[in-house]
Amino acid sequence: MTPAVEVQKAWKYFGDYPALRSISLDVPAGTCLALLGRNGAGKTTLLRILSGLSNPSEGSVRILGHGSRDYQARARTGMIGHGIGIYDELSAAENLRLFARLFHVRDAEQTVQQWLTRVSLDRVQNSVVREFSRGMRQRLALARAFLHGPSLLLLDEPFTSLDDRAIALLQSLLADALKGGATVIMSTHQLREAMELATHVALLDRGKLAHSGERPVQMLADPTWLYRTYGDSQ
């Protein structure tokens, strides 16, 4: 079986500064990879490359067996970035409908309704997103990312500013997706929440891949174990 994500010797330069240095990483299909690393380690940069927002300066990236900007790769990838990626001027339902159409979801309307119910926004679906509180927007962003039943999920710090209930929702969505065979890659600083799902971890250290592999058992009890073991000690 081809891995869901294959990165080979990928470099990314911003000007002369190498934000990623020769990253090689295979993520087997159906796993959940927690991408760890301190601030500025390059997690976002790597996730942006995987999601096709940016091309590696050197090296190659295959997503689900396709090039990272190919239609097939894009259509089967879901993404949550730093920003929530929904439009403030549109209503909740309009936002989802837009993305359903862009991703060519079949039965768009029905899927949208289903997801609105799932994230308990069905009663406010026709309100403009601007009126929502941050938590409601985050839930909508989740629905947007999961809408088209992606085979690969790229999440950049998804637990940020979610309350306990919303975190539980996200975790259950992720667990369902994993059960359905999807692959999940998420960067996070909230190790505890991430460890409940992660089967694999990768540690970035200033642009280099310091460690990758299955989640060490030690991390369940002591999430920072990885940092201390493989991380730079400075």
Binding site: R74, M79, G81, G85, E89, L102
Partner: protein
Amino acid sequence: MRFLRQTASIAAKDLRSELRTKDSLNAAGSFALVIIVLFSFMLDPTETQTVYELSGGLLWLVFAFAGALILNRSFARELPNDCLDMLVASPVSSSALFLGKATANFTLLLVVELVCLPVFGGMYNLSRWSTHLGPLLGVVVLGTWGVTVIGTMFSAITVNLRLRELMLPILVYPIMIPCLMAAMKLSTVLISGEAITGDDWIWLRLLIGFDIIFTSLSLLTVDFVLVS
């Protein structure tokens, strides 16, 4: 097919968020009226001959100005919640994205223009403005498309820091000069109630050529602008 549907979705999204209510039509209408009032202070509106001579210029000045305002926003609208990232990461090709946005801008601009045109004709007593309405609309459409393509591209460039230095945004408006110039000349002729003859055909050719060249150039380069 898929391309067209995506283009349409993007355009519909942009238009919907502008047209939420009838705000933008109202706004466009009053915008036109306000500018027309401003002109009245500049010109002596009773000198009909001068007004006719300047008409094409004034009209396109309004269009260019309204265009500059609307187009500047086009990609900036996507920034607040990083929506642009979501669009680029979705299975929409950069050119569909660009065309979708350009179409939305074009429509908005056209609405403003179609409101301006009769108001302009009426308030300045340009009794002959509508005698060649068909050709005039043709010129408006062609000129507007040129302005839109360049403006949309510029809008995309300004949201991308890296390219901002490379592509010299200061060139953007000057690049529009041939297009605006041709549209102005042709409009002046048509509004004055004359037909396009001999010498003026070259302006029309210029206008069409400009549209074709810059549309293709934009479609070819937009991927570099959007994917870093």
